[in-house]
Amino acid sequence: MSNANVTAPIPRNIATREATWVRWLLIAITLVFLTAFLFVPLLSVFVEALRNGVDAYWEALKEPDALSAIKLTVLVAVIAVPLNLVFGLAAAWAIAKFEFRGKSLLITLIDLPFSVSPVIAGLVYVLLFGLQGWMGPWLAEHDIQLIFAVPGLVLATLFVTFPFIARELIPLMQEQGKEEEEAAVSLGASGWQTFWHVTLPNVKWGLLYGVILCNARAMGEFGAVSVVSGHIRGFTNTMPLHVEVLYNEYNFVAAFAVASLLALLALVTLIAKTWVEWHTQRERSAAH
């Protein structure tokens, strides 16, 4: 700073900065825009949920259908997130630590679910496993129900959250290179030892970040699970689907009460994300 002041104090102030009124105008427009599109919607969830007081809020959450929706949402996430975590680690290990042909095609294919509409994600499983689907008759014969049941919800969730963890890990592990792993292996460590003691500690924050994002999407997914769920109250309704059912019944307070739990989850996700970013930056600056 002091250096810059010595060299060119006048042009720096006039020509490399905007006038003060321009700056304040831009900040003001930004804040108005974000208020109308982000802050007010977030706030309104809690205000609408508490409209009839705290008692009505708790009643809506203690209701059996709401409780079973919460349980189902947690169950789906508990199955889907670890599976995508294992996939993310395997994909990142292969892509970041080795050179092979077709790598960029593989990365593009991993990204594919990001650009597919969630409704289509649900539809493909109905076409595969639904009663009129390819495997439908065989499944029906063996009395296995995937669609309009929990396995269908898990499959649809797996699809939409597929890239999240791999997407965080691949660039991170590419950036870190493979010298440390190669050193460990040439010193006699086994593959697993190298992975557990060298690779995992190096990527732990990115991994955590990916898991947090993946979990948020898994618990909040609506379109894809909506197609495969069948909306059976108390059985195949996850929290977002339960919000829709309540809302369509004009039970607004209850709908916003369940929605407020999901909004809290979103806030926790954002706080965790900020915390992880802060840690990563601190470790980076400590390393330099």
């Binding site: 060119a8 042009p11 720096r12 006039i14 020509a15 490399t16 831009l26 900040i27 427009i29 930004t30 599109f37 982000l38 007010v40 309104s44 969830v45 994909a91 292969a94 630590k97 080795f98 092979f100 042909r101 077709g102 593989l106 593009t108 294919l109 594919l112 650009s115 597919v116 509409s117 969630p118 289509i120 539809l123 109905v126 076409l127 595969l128 689907g133 699809f159 597929f162 792993e181 593959g191 190298t194 992975f195 948020a216 618990m219 909040g220 997914e221 609506f222 379109g223 909506s226 929290m239 977002p240 689907l241 919000v243 809302y247 607004f252 929605a259 909004a263 979103a266 806030l267 900020t274």
Partner: protein, 273 residues
Amino acid sequence: MIKKHSILPGFGPALGFTIFYLSLVVLIPLSALFLKSATLGWEQFWATVTAPRVLASYKLSFGTALIAALINAVFGLLVAWVLVRYNFIGKRVVDALVDLPFALPTAVAGIALTAIYADNGWIGQYLAAQGIKVAYTPLGIVVALTFIGLPFVVRTVQPVLADLDREVEEAAASLGATRWQTISRVIFPTIMPALLTGFALAFARAVGEYGSVIFIAGNMPMVSEIAPLLIITKLEQFQYAEATAIAVVMLIASFILLLAINLLQWWSRRRLA
């Protein structure tokens, strides 16, 4: 796929599992969609996807997504600029909250936006007084899609803007450029690829969006019925083939967008390198 020599173990199992899992969860299910549409026959396929109601839904989905992505390109750039260049109280909180649309479930966003922008809502009542109806019109869809797409533009432009070399601006200034000339001729061309990437990402996400839209849209056939909703409607009427045909067209559009995004990112990296 041929691996160059490496002393690290685990390439085979890691890549094998990756491809196995990718095929199982993504590739095989998606190919089922194309196989199903192939059983339709070209004429029936064409008749389905060019039916007036379907065409109207495509027009609505792509049109509103385009408008929302344009709004996001303008305001996303502004938000990124303000967050990188200026200081104000609460900046870190604002920065963190920009990711809210990524974290907030779409159904929650949908009912919240509807409550606010309905004729008796916090913001909707003032707009209604001016004769502007937002909820239950295509304008409401644009609002929902703008919310959904906002972080894409901010988060792709922000890092590029932060990495921008301030010395180039000082050079431009000392060569006599006004501030506006520096911004439009030096800064803007540098961030253009990132801005386009963010725009394309927001557009791609908005085209397929379902959860946040259906609450605020009103869902009137021919007027405010988006294509993903029409797929679900056809499914509920057990018209699987028609639902599939509509989906295939959307999926092909997504693939083209994905290709465009990849090219943009490649261009962006080359520009910055």
